[in-house]
């Protein structure tokens, strides 16, 4: 108490703390009222923040040109290569972002509940936008607790990719439809070197391999995630338990160490050395983007695509998991009407959606675009499109802490596949961990 320096430091820290609180308290929720009628004429400059780079950014630029052509007095100021972290910081710092595009549905909970993206309902109601043109799952992942603050802008689905030549050589006439068939075919296709190590793998059951993971495997069993009150349903789900047991048994049958050694030597997923493209893994769960990569990096690869195999009695064949890009109007937007016009164009204009899907090789998020004759769909790509249209296709629910619960599950599963243990006890602990994290994050 008698040390002046200590007292000064304490005073300084207190002052800084108070300043922090005051500054933090200055953040507004950015609610705004809109005109009763959409403006007859649009004029001005509207900013668009998106994460695309390279060729994909050029595709977006060409779509934006279409918008500018439609509204000659509107200019779009495009900020490309802005990932979610930058977007969040910019909005938090009060940057007047008109339209922001995120690559992840994980931000929907946070951005909707916080008001970082404005509520779009008034615009949708005023302009009588028909949201029934959005597939149900897509509609679900673009809103949070009934609040629609985003619209979709391209999506990803998953399916089984298989090496046609390898399957034919092994006498397998059609791709597996059930998990039992997947395992049988996968083991049949697996070959070994003289020293017992794996030479080629029919199917890699390691849960942390490439696109394997709880999200993409959920359609195998139509697995539940969270209850309506936000509690984890994974640990109490018979379907998840059976899938985890199936996966663990598959890993153990080949041998964890052998699989780990083999997987460790494979090339990067998003490179020309991708194991499926190189013929080292003959079947895999992957997304529609693989078609684009394979076309560019492995043009001679003869592969087919089929819906994700399912566990008999649980999954619904043809369904997929679906997530995608979302777009919204920033809370600090200075030109909300222009922003709404641009957002509406990108998300609800069939031609714009088709143009983007053809360029980026992702899945359009309008039923009209999915059914469009202008959509350049190869037979492989068509499976992913059909999956997007499937009524049983589901998404992962939004929470205020993003994809935290999926990552927790993923980490848990990787640990279980290596070490095993009391599955029931571990599942119970998993639920507890997810619930605790969700409680910490709040509603």
């Amino acid at each position: 108490m008698h040390h002046p320096i200590a007292r000064r430091v304490a005073t300084g820290v207190t002052a800084a703390a108070i300043a922090a609180l005051v500054l933090a308290g200055c953040t507004s929720t950015g609610s705004s009222t809109i005109a009763d009628k959409a403006p007859d004429h649009l004029k001005g400059t509207v900013s668009l923040w998106h994460f695309f780079n390279g060729n994909n950014a050029k595709v977006i630029a060409s779509v934006v040109k279409g918008f500018e052509k439609k509204y000659p007095d509107v200019k779009v100021s495009v900020h490309q290569g802005q990932d979610d972290e930058k977007l969040q910081k910019a909005i938090a710092a009060g940057q007047p972002i008109d339209v922001g595009i995120s690559y992840s549905t994980a931000i929907v909970g946070s951005f909707c509940s916080s008001g970082a993206f404005q509520d779009l309902s008034p615009y949708i109601k005023r302009d009588r936008i028909n949201l029934s043109d959005l597939p149900t799952a897509v509609r679900n992942y673009t809103e949070y607790q009934g609040k629609r603050c985003t619209l979709p802008m391209l999506a990803d689905t998953s399916a089984l990719l298989y090496n046609k030549k390898a399957l034919a050589t092994a006498g397998i006439t059609e791709p597996p439809k059930t998990l039992d068939e997947l395992k049988a075919d996968g083991l049949k296709l697996t070959t070994y070197n003289a020293d017992g190590s794996i030479k080629t793998l029919g199917f890699n059951p390691m849960i942390d391999f490439y696109e394997n993971g709880a999200g993409h495997w959920a359609p195998m069993i139509d697995g539940p995630w969270l209850s309506k009150d936000g509690k984890s349903e994974i640990g109490t789900s018979d379907a998840w338990k059976k899938l985890i047991q199936w996966q663990k048994a598959y890993v153990d049958e080949i041998g964890y160490d052998k699989l780990k050694t083999f997987t460790s030597g494979l090339g990067q997923e998003f490179s020309a050395d991708n194991a499926f493209q190189k013929g080292k893994v003959l079947m895999e769960i992957d997304g529609e983007w693989r078609a684009g990569y394979a076309r560019d990096q492995a043009p001679d690869l003869d592969y087919g695509v089929a819906p994700t195999p399912i566990m008999t009695g649980y999954g619904k064949y043809g369904a997929s998991s679906i997530t995608g890009n979302v777009a919204g109007i920033g809370k600090g937007s200075k030109h909300p009407e222009l922003a709404w016009a641009l957002l509406k164009y990108l998300s609800t204009n069939t031609n714009a959606q088709v143009q983007m899907a053809n360029g980026v090789k992702n899945i359009p998020t309008l039923k009209s675009a999915l059914n469009s004759s202008k959509l350049q769909a190869t037979s492989a790509y068509q499976v992913f499109i059909d999956a997007a249209k499937d009524p049983n296709t589901k998404t992962t629910p939004a929470t205020s802490d993003g994809a935290s619960y999926i990552n927790t599950f993923q980490t848990w599963w990787a640990e279980y596949q290596q070490n095993g243990g009391d599955l029931d006890a571990k599942l119970k602990k998993l639920d507890q961990d997810i619930d605790n994290a969700n409680a910490l994050a709040g509603p």
């Binding site: 300084g12 703390a17 300043a19 922090a20 953040t27 509940s113 997923e269 994050a441 709040g442």
Partner: protein, 330 residues
Amino acid sequence: MVATVSAAPGRKTVPGRRPVRNRAERRRRLVALSMLAPVLAGLAIFFVYPLGASIVYSFTRYNQLQSPEFVGLLNYRYLFTQDPQILGAALNTLWFVVILVPVRIVCALAVAGLLSRARAAAGVWRTLFYLPALVPPVASVVAFVFLFNPGTGPVNQLLHAIGIQGPLWFNDPNWSKPSLVILGVWVMGDIMIIFLASLLDVPKELYEAASLDGANGPQQVRHVTLPAISPVLGFAIVTGVIAALQYFTEAAVASGVASGKATVGGGTAANLGYPGTSLLTYTEVLYVRGFADFQFGYASAMAVVLFLVTSVLLVFTMRRIPMFRAGGAA
């Protein structure tokens, strides 16, 4: 009384002089303060304010987009009793403090010792050992993960050629941390060069005197070299401990590349810690909670705890290093 009388004439002059002295003093202080101002402003903006803000936010639920909501000790309760990742991450970080820091210092010291005795091409050797420190951390980690790739990397192929089955290195939870230590040793040039300068500064007369007293090589190192370079040694330990407590880039990049799912932006958080959670460090968890899970309140609580742990560790370390003690070697 005498004093009073003699002081009386002075009374007239003192009030007249004091303002002059005070003005000069005030001006001198103002000049000093204006010179210090940039540093003080930097300290206030970049240290005091973030520290204060972190402490305040640590008692809130805060996602950067809404006003913080006061939640009392909820974040700290979750941190110490519920977070399933925190213990493993803390132990991993501690591992780097206890193993990586001493190994790097010992190796850097040994190389500096050898280089200080180099007679021919000393400059070339110094450059060669220092050069890796100039490679950006991300590039060096990527290169190492490819070199140590169990399937295609030259290291295991070389080991295989001499009949040794190499480990999975960055893909094996038991080898991932030691692999990063190997990397840490490779890029030890930053501290090696300081050790070398310090070793070259040790007066030769001390060695001659020790030699005349009958001290052998190890005794000369213990009683002459180490005391002479203890300030530099202390500096290396303190900065090494701080860096290890904040270990992030190397571990994060190694996890991303070794997992085979290296990407930029979305998805990076999901790969942190690979293989398993063996490379998950405290600061990685902090990053994920803050920037992937939107929990800045909780991330602030983690930052406050890290700050306290760092402070305690540093006080503990510094009290054991003579240069930091009053009247120490420095």
